[in-house]
């Protein structure tokens, strides 16, 4: 790859991934509904763009593969070929290879896959049609001749130029002076690395004694290489067509595909029909395919820049705090008015920056339909996979983390949840199982549900399994209520599937998913009815970057406790503290609450100055614990910062914040504090 291309590598990778995700989606649509022209067009367009991009970037193997895919797709478009499962499977395989190649490029900067197997398979698919077509041709020989002559006749319609009044006058003028008007379709060798240069050379050659009136695509696009393997031009010249064509074909990698000399008297008529058909086409297209894309104008921004923007806004808010302190001590009216303004602007700014970081959960959801389809195929199950609320927005930080747990849940649903069609039919259920993935906002949280109408969870089997694995005793299991049994599913090393498959059943999964979700300050619950289905509910905070926190003091140190884990706070006097086997406890409204002193947990230096004590009641899992602190400072919205690689993984510390006075305060992680 040439040096100047490297700067486009990021864009190339990013866009290819987008196209791939889109392709997977559209191909799924096509698989469900083989006649769906919109999906087919979209696939064709995306593959075509991929081809162009990879050839520009010099990834020839990728360009080659996509080129052959395009061939098959164009047969599909022209209805020569049916989008049956064989073809769709092959296309999926090709997409996988494209994805592998792109991932390889991302890692190593070079592609280098041998795609001959797939190219051959694509060729076979095409060859199949030709053999069947040949037979057809023998029978309908007369017809084909007619078709051939017709296609000759309509060549000019394949040259669809958008001629305006001015162009027409110029053409008429040229014709009246004895110039010839020639339509040319120039083909550039698909393997050409410098399509734009070839196009330029065509113009250079024509410059001598012709005038290029119009080109399709327009000249700037040609200069940028933004065209397929062919482009159309109209020239006016006094030279005979064959001389010009001869000259053009001397340019390497250039071929004149078709040409046509135009009779100007016909032009007006033809033009009017042409524009008529074209306008209908044009009005159709935007509403059809491009409509959704055009409404939103977007800019691609490096996430690091957003993070630093967020940092700067954090700084601004911090200094605003200082200003407020100064303002309140000086009591200058003008200053305070200005500070109020700044306060308003900075909080607006903060919310805008937060919104910028929000992305639709679609980004994660989009890869699931393909995954579910593949799994279902592999396991011979029929599954209707539905996604609801994919436009629900979440902070990037959460989006990046939520994919893996959802994969686990979906795999579980396909593998353990949905029964095989035969079993379903026996049970009087529809053969096709349904899995619904749902997302929606609820207050400051996002709810994600994975629901299937499969076999549900057999509580007795879960209990039995737990006993077998030694997680609970058989007596415990017997007395265990069903809800408790469901929680067993999340314990490490638990899996109820009798046969271990590739997909799931290795006993890693639910506990991993649960850990991940809890690390995101989220919760996961499961609900199930035997024989009717299972529903997993995940509750996640909208963002991990800004949270509400309770600031507490211990000696001279100040810590932040995420408000999501605080249940309540209360005063504590020394006589309230009781001892049970050396463990300090207090009685809070009739329940015994174990107490932990934050100063000893964190080995805070210094002597306690006052007798004042407060208890922050926090919940860890389903247990409540009282955290003893010296003082409560108040509730605050804080911007979480990471402690960095160097200090990562300290138990009990979730991160840091920069306080209003510029000092760093640490955020406590209740889950790992004890």
């Amino acid at each position: 790859m040439s040096m100047d291309m490297t700067q486009y590598l990021d864009v190339f990778l990013e866009e290819s991934k987008e196209h791939l995700s889109n392709l997977n989606q559209q191909l799924l649509t096509l698989e469900k509904n083989p006649g769906n022209q919109a999906a087919l067009n979209e696939i064709f367009r995306a593959i075509h763009t991929l081809k162009g991009m990879s050839s520009t970037m010099g990834y020839e193997d990728l360009a080659d593969l996509t080129h052959h895919m395009e061939d098959v797709l164009s047969d599909l478009k022209e209805d020569i070929l049916q989008a049956d499962s064989q073809v769709v499977d092959l296309l999926f395989q090709c997409l996988d290879r494209v994805q592998m190649t792109i991932e390889q490029i991302e890692r190593t900067g070079t592609a280098g896959f041998n795609n001959q197997d797939l190219i051959k398979a694509l060729g076979n698919v095409k060859a199949d049609i030709f053999t069947t077509q040949d037979q057809g041709e023998v029978i309908a020989g007369a017809d084909t001749i007619q078709i051939a002559s017709q296609s000759l006749h309509t060549i000019s319609q394949s040259f669809s130029f958008d001629l305006n009044e001015y162009d027409l006058t110029v053409l008429q003028e040229a014709a009246s002076r004895g110039y010839q008007i020639i339509y040319l379709r120039i083909a550039v060798d698909p393997a050409s690395l410098m399509k734009s240069v070839r196009a330029f050379m065509v113009f250079k050659v024509l410059e001598e004694d012709c005038e290029v009136l119009k080109s399709n695509p327009p000249v700037p696009d040609l200069e940028d290489g933004k065209f397929d393997d062919t482009f159309d031009i109209i020239i006016v010249t006094k030279q005979p067509a064959n001389i010009i064509i001869d000259r053009l074909e001397h340019i390497s990698e250039i071929r004149v595909d078709t040409y046509e000399t135009v009779d100007i008297s016909q032009l007006a008529v033809q033009q009017s029909t042409n524009t008529a058909s074209q306008t209908t086409q044009e009005t159709k297209e935007p509403s059809d395919i491009k409509g959704n894309q055009k409404i939103k104008q977007t800019v691609r921004v490096d996430i690091d820049r957003l993070d630093s923007l967020m940092n700067l806004v954090g700084e601004l808010v911090m200094h605003k705090g200082r200003l407020e302190e100064i303002g309140s001590s000086r009591r200058i009216v003008e200053l305070n008015e200005t500070i109020e303004q700044i306060d308003r602007i900075s909080s607006d700014l903060q919310s805008v920056v937060m919104k910028v970081r929000m992305v639709p959960i679609e980004q994660v959801f989009n890869r699931f339909p393909r995954m579910v389809r593949d799994l279902a195929k592999e396991l011979n199950k029929e599954i209707d996979f539905q996604i609801e609320g994919k436009e629900t927005e979440l902070d990037r930080t959460v989006i990046d983390e939520i994919g893996d747990p959802l994969i686990h849940l979906l795999r579980n649903a396909v593998d353990h949840g949905i029964e095989s069609p035969a079993v379903r039919a026996q049970m009087g259920k529809p053969r096709i199982g349904t899995i619904v993935l749902r997302a929606r906002h609820e207050g400051n949280n996002v709810l994600i549900e994975v629901e299937d109408d499969g076999s549900g969870i057999d509580f007795e089997r879960v209990k039995q399994k737990a006993v077998d694995k030694g997680l609970v005793s058989s007596k415990e299991a017997e007395e265990m209520p069903n809800e408790k049994a469901l929680e067993l599913l999340f314990s490490p090393g638990f899996s109820t599937s009798d046969n271990v498959t590739d997909i799931s059943g290795r006993g890693v999964g639910l506990d991993v998913a649960k850990n991940k979700i809890e690390a995101l300050n989220g919760e996961i619950h499961v609900d199930s009815k035997l024989g009717q289905g299972t529903k997993f509910k995940i509750k996640l905070p909208l963002t991990l970057a800004i949270i509400q926190a309770l600031m507490v003091s211990v000696r001279d140190e100040i810590y932040a406790i995420p408000l999501s884990s605080v249940d309540e706070t209360t005063m504590l006097s020394p006589e309230d503290i009781k001892l049970i086997q050396g463990q300090e406890v207090m009685v809070l409204r009739g329940t015994v609450l174990p107490l932990y002193r934050l100063d000893s947990l964190l080995e805070v230096p210094g002597e306690k100055q006052s007798d004042e004590m407060y208890v922050v009641v926090v919940s860890k899992g389903d247990k409540q614990i009282g955290l003893v602190v010296d003082g409560l400072i108040g509730q605050q919205e804080i911007v979480i910062k990471s402690l960095g690689k160097f200090l990562a993984g300290i138990p009990g510390i979730a991160g840091a914040i920069v306080a209003g006075d510029g000092n760093v305060r640490l955020i406590l992680d209740i889950a790992t504090l004890f």
Partner: protein
Amino acid sequence: MQDIRNLPAEDSYHEDQELQVVAFRLGNEEYAVDILYVQEIIRLLNITRVPRSGPHIEGVINLRGNIIPIVNLHSKFNLQAAEDEEDKRIIVFKWDEMQVGVIVDEVSEVIRIKRQDIEAASKVYGALEADHIKGIAKIENRLLILLNLAKIFEAGW
């Protein structure tokens, strides 16, 4: 990996036979670090203690909105810190996308050291300590201990 990270420094040895270092004082000893690793030198800021971190972690500071860990080389190397706070500085090192601050008693200067003036550490130290020391530089009657930051940070705290 280690060798690759050291390459720029090694190159500067070969190319101009010289190494540019930031020299600083820890207790009564003089140390030096390749200037390529030094991001900036700042005055002492409020350091927030980080409980449950390693014994040589002093805490964290806020450097223009970034949280930067501060390590205590005095305790790591078993040196007595100077009483005088006036000359103390924090040198912020940047290494492998990681920023780490070190409190030093005084930053003396930026000097060029000739390669032939650097003696291998193994001659002076035992094998264990020699790991995080690149060598000893003799400049007139001073001895500068050249630190191998990569090794020190890799070792953890």
